[in-house]
């Protein structure tokens, strides 16, 4: 029969893989690049340094939440508490720094720890009490929302007396280079998250649990413990987002944050992380978050009426994810 047509299947395959990998990297950015090009052409005011830092700064809070929640989603879970949880962290930071007059650094750590604690409780509910992540974190979302109002007495906490606090997000630590610290922190957190996910046992177990939790457990890994750790780490990210938010607004606003979780989750999924777990990248999440904020910013710059903005964002999410699906389908 037909001999000698295809050479060695194995070399053919790895050749394909290499090519498709390079293509993948480029195509993952495709939606983002198309958007940027489109807005640059449509408006003179889009592509300049002020607006770029503006976009980046507006990405930080949602972006950092998205980074943390990428880990949770990678396990096949979900975290709905990050929006209002972030607010609770901001409020606690305010309580520590303004009400209790603790040093700023202690207050920041306190805020982050609040996030970690919430993550811990969610993780505990999910792994030990076996409550589905959706419901455990939905409950946590409500609890955080209520507590933020209770603790702050439904009044914003102002950091006006601590001028250096707003430097955390808005100062610019690199001299001569006008990049807000908030953006820097986002970049650093993204790098840390990336290393955690790909280079550490933490990331390995995250992927493994998301891929097949039972098999992971049967391999002798304490999946319950690790799930608690993963939710707690995600909580740390939420805490950092909360501190940044407080710093940027120079106040802890207790009524904020409802609905932010969906934006963060959307960023994660647009970035190609699978909601059923096991598959995802931090770079993807960063791109996903950027797509969201470039889109919002661009539409605003173009003065599109707001109701239409919502429609367009919804539509772009559909298209971006669909393109990603086709790309994957092609490359595999």
């Amino acid at each position: 029969m037909s001999t000698g047509t295809a050479p060695n299947t194995e070399t053919k395959k790895s050749g394909n893989l290499l090519k498709s990998n390079a293509l993948q990297q480029i195509l993952a950015f495709a939606s983002l690049i198309v958007l940027i090009l489109f807005f640059t052409i449509s408006s003179d005011n889009f592509l300049n340094w002020t607006n770029i830092t503006g976009i980046l700064l507006s990405t930080t809070v949602i972006g950092i939440m998205a980074l943390g929640t990428t880990f949770v989603i990678m396990t096949g879970g979900i975290d709905l508490s990050i929006g209002t949880g972030m607010t609770l962290c901001a409020v606690m930071t305010g309580v520590f720094i303004v009400f209790w007059d603790l040093p700023i650094i202690v207050g920041i750590l306190g805020g982050i720890l609040t996030g970690a604690l919430m993550g811990f409780i969610s993780g505990f509910s999910v792994s030990k009490l076996k409550i589905p992540p959706f419901i455990a974190t939905l409950a946590m979302m409500m609890i955080a929302k209520g507590l933020a109002l209770v603790i702050s007495d439904a009044t914003p906490i102002y950091f006006s007396d601590k001028p250096s606090f707003s430097e955390i997000a808005l100062g610019s630590i690199i001299p001569g280079f006008n990049l807000p610290n908030g953006v820097l922190i986002f970049i650093i957190m993204a790098i840390i998250a990336g290393i955690l996910l790909t280079k550490s046992i933490f990331g390995r177990f995250t992927t493994s649990i998301g891929s097949n939790e039972e098999a992971t457990r049967l391999s002798g890994i304490n999946t319950d413990k690790w799930k608690i750790i993963i939710y707690t780490v995600a909580g740390v990210f939420t805490g950092i987002a909360g501190v940044l938010m407080a710093s940027r607004l120079n106040s802890a606003q207790p009524a904020l944050g409802a609905g932010y979780e969906l934006e963060a989750i959307a960023a994660v999924v647009i970035g190609g992380t699978s909601l059923s777990g096991g598959k995802g990248t931090i770079l993807g999440t960063v791109i996903g978050a950027l797509i969201m904020s470039v889109l919002t910013n661009g539409l605003r710059i173009m003065s599109i009426p707001q109701e239409w903005q919502t429609v367009v964002v919804g539509f772009v999410i559909l298209v971006a994810v669909y393109i990603d699906i086709i790309r994957r389908g092609k490359s595999s």
Binding site: S43, N45, T50, N51, G54, L57, S58, V61, L149, A154, T155, P156, Y158, S160, L170, M245, R248, L249, N250, S251, Q253, P254, A255, L256, A258, T296, N297, R300, I301, M302, S303, Q306, E307
Partner: protein, 309 residues
């Protein structure tokens, strides 16, 4: 069982607390925002003064007409001696107001009225007129011409719409040289409003002024102007009060703002309710007034009592 309890004996029995004090249920348009917290504060002051018991609640956002209806529904079921009500939608609540009326529960409207004669009194200010004043001030500060933009908290609620339309209509009527280039809605969320305002400033480099239609929106504008180093270059007109606006006025970022005396609204509402319970005559319209405040009059006693930190 308890379900057979006769309802008509309700109002005199006073069901809110065990204390036997008259009970007034207040259903507001919101409770998280500072404006409503200030209204609550005024209401609490009055409650203390007149020795009545109150509860104060409102939905999370001013679009949740149905949630407010649920709250009003439960408020009626609690058999209060009077109800204070700030309608999110002037029509949707009418059947319930009728029911309350039938049960003999006096109703005092506040903040904005209802399309009905049922409320014995309405304690409010004219949002539209207040916003028009903001427009006049804006025109004055930018010299009667140039581009301005609006950040409004809500696109559908009466408050949002009136505070927008009052401003826009006045500009159109009186200041043909002023162009309104953009109106965006930030839900009163300081962060979203900040990014919104930044994008508007970015899109219109020659923008002369921005008007923020409530506290969250105004703070967003202040933040945006600060983050983009446009202090003094863009005229910021705010609405409501709060620490950040007052500070921004002091440091010159904000030209000034309109306040509606929310504390007064809350106080007058409870006061009118108490009068109604006691069978006294209440004034049909209680105008709680609005004020322009800026650097020059911040220390004015009248202003001081109308703003909150």
């Amino acid at each position: 069982g308890s379900s057979s309890k006769n309802e008509s004996e309700g109002s005199s029995e006073s069901a809110g607390g065990d204390s036997g004090k008259p009970y007034i249920a207040i259903v507001s348009k919101g409770f998280q925002h500072q404006f409503w917290q200030a209204v609550k504060k005024g209401a609490e002051q009055a409650a203390k003064e007149f020795d009545v018991e109150i509860t104060f609640e409102g939905p999370e956002s001013e679009s949740q007409v149905d949630k407010q209806i649920e709250m009003l529904r439960t408020a009626i079921d609690k058999k209060p001696d009077a109800i204070g009500f700030a309608a999110l939608d002037s029509q949707a609540s009418i059947p319930l107001l009728k029911e309350a009326d039938e049960k003999g529960i006096p109703i005092i409207a506040f903040d904005s009225g209802v399309d009905s004669d049922i409320p014995l009194a309405t304690a409010s200010t004219d949002n539209k007129a207040a916003a028009a004043l903001a427009a006049d001030k804006m025109a004055e500060k930018i010299g009667g011409k140039g581009k301005v933009a609006l950040i409004v908290h809500d696109q559908t609620s009466i408050t949002g719409v009136n505070r927008r339309d009052g401003f826009v209509e006045r500009i159109k009527e009186k200041y043909p040289d002023i162009e309104i280039v953009d109106i965006q809605y930030g839900g009163g969320d300081q962060l979203k409003s900040t990014d919104l305002a930044k994008a508007i400033i970015q899109a219109h480099p020659d923008l002369k002024g921005i008007y923020g239609a409530n506290e969250g929106s105004a703070i967003g504008v202040i933040n945006a102007v600060k983050e983009m180093n446009k202090q003094g270059k863009i005229v910021v007109i705010g609405f409501d009060s709060g620490k950040q606006q007052i500070e921004a006025i002091k440091d010159g970022t904000m030209a000034g703002a309109i306040t509606q005396n929310p504390v007064g609204i809350g106080y007058e509402t409870v006061k009118a309710a108490v009068q109604a319970i006691n069978g006294e005559k209440v004034e049909k319209v209680i105008d709680t007034g609005f004020y322009w405040y800026d650097k020059t009059n911040l220390d004015n006693e009248e202003i001081k009592s109308a703003i909150y930190e």
